[in-house]
Amino acid sequence: MEWETVIGLEIHAQLMTKSKIFSGSSIAYGAEPNTQANVVDLALPGVLPVLNVEAVRMAAKFGLGINAPVSQNSVFARKNYFYPDLPQGYQISQMDLPIVEMGHIDIPLEDGSTKRIGVTRAHLEQDAGKSLHEDFAGMTGIDLNRAGTPLLEIVSEPDMSSAKEAVAYMKKIHALVQYLEICDGNMQEGSFRCDANVSVRPKGQKELGTRAELKNINSFRFVERAINIEIARQIDIIEEGGSVVQETRLFDPDKDETRSMRSKEEANDYRYFPDPDLLPVRISDEFIEAIRATLPELPEAKKQRFIDEFSLSDYDAEIMTSSRPLSDYYEIVASGSGEAKLAANWVMGNLSAALNKDDKNIADSPISAEMLVGMIKRISDSTISGKIAKDVFEAMWKGEGDADSVIEKKGLKQITDSGAIETMIDEIIANNQAQVEEFRSGKEKILGFFVGQVMKASRGKANPGQVNQLLRKKLKA
């Protein structure tokens, strides 16, 4: 039987506000436990939440970014459950009236086409604290620094039909929130997290299959892996005559499996109701328009501009705009060097390879965009060849200075003095008469041998174009 997969994602993006969503505490990552928890975060008796308008502004920005209506009247609700790292005994979230309503985002497919994915809603809520089970024998430590951190929960329609599409969607949202400067996208620190609802059904069937919710899939790689494992698991169950149970499953990347956390029957009744401590959030048209006026250029628009302005292919433009730091970097290099295609090759080639190898983000690249501009300029003015540039690049990566000082220090300046090149050629011709004869008898392929000899003699610094031209002239003479 042929199977069809249905996937929906719930993404939690931590908003880059300075303070928490309902208190004045800082949300900076990595502070000593419980140093960023005030009386409100500790949920002492009598304290009250006060909404951080910055969080509202960021949520509205997201709404505009996915072409969704920003609700003029959204309501905070309490989601009630007991857990030691949930100080209030409820999470303040949004239920019936979220701040962002239905929108959409387009994802690229492997065949080069695009697919539109619906974004059902996005709502504001507060994060819980952290329970630390490892550090205290027989006890659990509670760190409330994270409690009350603003989150935007972004819920997609079940529009994705493969793990690859899910990853493409997640990457798109990841890029968007960073473009909008509402989330730093740091997945290691948990600023951008994802749960996936996965179900399978026989191809052509209308009704959805029973879904499982996958948790703990906090990297693009894990999302793809976990979903594929889950799809295979569900198909196996059904093909063996069983049925999938609605449940929450945890992905274990070490064992490469998903396993049951809790079933539907064990699920909490959260007893949502409107939080009486908070007024409905009323948003005026002026508020929205003010935000719209400050929106940065969004990925789709930037991609089109890169195609028009820098003559990039659709594929290259898609990659260059896949994250805001990358697009910013590329734009500096392309504009600064005046060599858009060369810039694209270097950024997508050597730079991204080096970043991958050293596990670095482009923001932490030892070679700044300005340094790369300096290097490409030396290629285009023939100071160095493309080949030598690789050595320059490597030296810059190691922190040996900018292109000019590396070229200077290492004496990598290209030899363009034709007199010097001719002297070398004459010597090589004199020493390799047999090969000269071969060339002259029509075996032009042998030219490569001579080029190699000259480059060797010049330690790579001879201008390859000149070498070629002069060799031909002299060999034919």
Binding site: P45, N80, D277
Partner: protein, 495 residues
């Protein structure tokens, strides 16, 4: 001295007739002398009170005193008080020393009012008799075998026995007005949002409102003035400007339109209470008021709606009391579940548990629409009833409670009958309106309060209406004789 108005006390303090330290010591001595009978205080703050009084004396000496500087008062033990146990009448918070001040406490501290102590109350403000306190029942100063009402019974008994000139309270379903009525003092619950709820331990957030008890409307006006105003720490507090509550006290009531809801005078109202209310209305006629019968047709739905909304909110509000970060924690919990079950099971009293269970049920999947949403609809209907009434009348009057103070234990096994004693007060909270209880005489030798219900933010008008009545009557000046003796010489007080 304990029968003086706040204005008289302020004048005496300014003139140097006695110091704030002496005045504060005088009331501390009265508490020491009488509270063993009443059990109105959970915590008496001798040292802090005298230290605050000393600061007040310095301000008075420096000429920077305000209208309330140096006058001692008491706080219901639901207002967080920095460095002092704030228990909400519960074993759960018996070990809780608040690390911050409620806005109300902060404001009255700034006004220079020494805090004599924290008063007893029904646990988490749930009750109408003050029998539900971990710290024991509070007695009615008029008859020690009777309840003072609740939940702010400690504050009411304190002011009724003149153990403090004024005291704060909170009113979620009548918890200021009903005890004020049952103890013969003046109490005002302002419009929802007038007084900040920050630091006031939540029972039912959409209904809770802080207010004040005093022996007169003019005293209440002064203290309410200092308590009121927008607070950026409370999103539900109102940004509407606070008027001068004392400025219009002397306005004439000529032409005042008083609405009497017929539903408030039907079956269930004690005839003695009814007579007192009728007499009070007659007095208002003499003052030039016009009496208009009105109808609040949804009155009978107020108690059922309240007993869905309030428990629903409380079931969630009290979830933070889990013994994890503060408060009572059971011995040697087996696991997390056991920790929750026993910490909460051992620390909460019956009435609190009852309301948590009712509220949890009302919010449960499948019942939410039938209970919580329906109750919210009733709430809107009740508010509309009042708004319609206020199109034709300036103020609504009626009884505060159907009966005078009942015997301790009389209703404690019958929650429904207890709930019914709030029948005239609860609708006011559901609508968020301001309400008052004004002493109007006695029935069965026990005090009876007249209820005033005003339109939103018309506290000044209500206080004016109450004050004019108190200018021509002396019911508010009556106090239980057993507490009249002032056998302490104030000049010996203090350091």
């Amino acid at each position: 001295m304990h029968n003086k108005s706040l204005t008289e006390l302020a004048t005496d303090l300014t003139s140097g007739a006695y110091s704030s330290v002496e005045l504060t010591q005088y009331f501390l001595d009265r508490i020491n002398q009488y509270d063993t009978n009443l059990n109105a205080f959970i915590t008496v703050m001798d040292e802090q009170a005298l230290a605050m009084a000393k600061t007040a004396d310095e301000q008075i000496a420096a000429g920077s005193a305000g209208a309330l500087t140096g006058i001692p008062m008491a706080h219901k033990d639901i207002f967080c008080t920095d460095g002092v146990r704030t228990s909400a009448g519960s074993k759960m918070l018996d070990n809780f020393i608040a690390p911050y001040n409620a806005t109300v406490v902060e404001k009255l501290n700034v006004a220079g009012m020494p805090i004599l102590g924290k008063t007893n109350m029904d646990e988490f403000a749930m009750g109408s008799s003050n029998e539900n306190s971990f710290y024991g029942k509070v007695k009615n100063p008029w008859d020690l075998e009777r309840v003072p009402g609740g939940s702010s019974g400690g504050s009411a008994a304190t002011v009724a026995a003149r153990l403090a000139p004024v005291a704060t309270g909170t009113d979620t379903g009548g918890s200021i007005r009903q005890p004020a009525s049952l103890t013969g003092i003046t109490g005002i619950k302002p419009t929802y949002g007038r007084v900040s709820r920050f630091g006031m331990i939540a029972y039912a957030s959409s209904l809770d409102q802080g207010g004040v008890f005093g022996t007169s409307a003019s005293d209440c006006a002064l203290v309410l003035q200092a308590m009121s105003g927008f607070d950026e720490k409370d999103s539900t507090s109102s940004e509407q400007a606070v008027g001068d509550f004392s400025a219009s006290l002397k306005d004439s009531l000529q032409g005042l339109k008083i609405g009497l809801p017929k539903e408030y005078f039907e079956e269930g109202l004690d005839s003695g209470v009814a007579k007192v209310i009728e007499d009070a209305i007659a007095e208002y006629k003499k003052l030039g008021a016009e009496i208009i019968e009105i109808s609040l047709p949804n009155t009978h739905l107020a108690i059922p709606a309240y007993y869905v909304v309030a428990p629903a909110e409380c079931s969630s509000n009290l979830s933070r009391l889990d013994g994890v970060r503060y408060g009572y924690r059971c011995e040697n919990p087996k696991d997390l579940q056991d920790h929750y079950m026993r910490s909460r099971g051992e620390a909460f009293g019956d009435e609190v548990k009852r309301r948590i269970m009712v509220g949890t049920y009302a919010l449960s999947a499948g019942y939410y629409d039938a209970y919580y949403l329906k109750a919210q609809k009733i709430r809107r209907l009740i508010s509309e009833d009042f708004q319609q009434a206020f199109e034709t009348v300036d103020v609504i009057m009626g009884p505060v409670a159907p009966n005078t103070a009942f015997k301790i234990g009389e209703k404690s096994d019958d929650p429904i009958s207890m709930y019914l004693s709030d029948i005239y007060t609860i609708a006011v909270n559901l609508a968020g309106l301001p309400g008052m209880s004004v002493p109007a005489g006695q029935a069965n030798n026990l005090p009876v309060g007249l209820q005033l219900i005003g339109n939103y933010f018309e506290e000044a008008k209500m206080l004016n209406i109450a004050h004019q009545y108190q200018q021509v009557t002396d019911h508010h000046q009556q106090m239980p004789t057993a507490f009249e003796i002032a056998n302490i010489n104030p000049s010996k007080g203090g350091e």
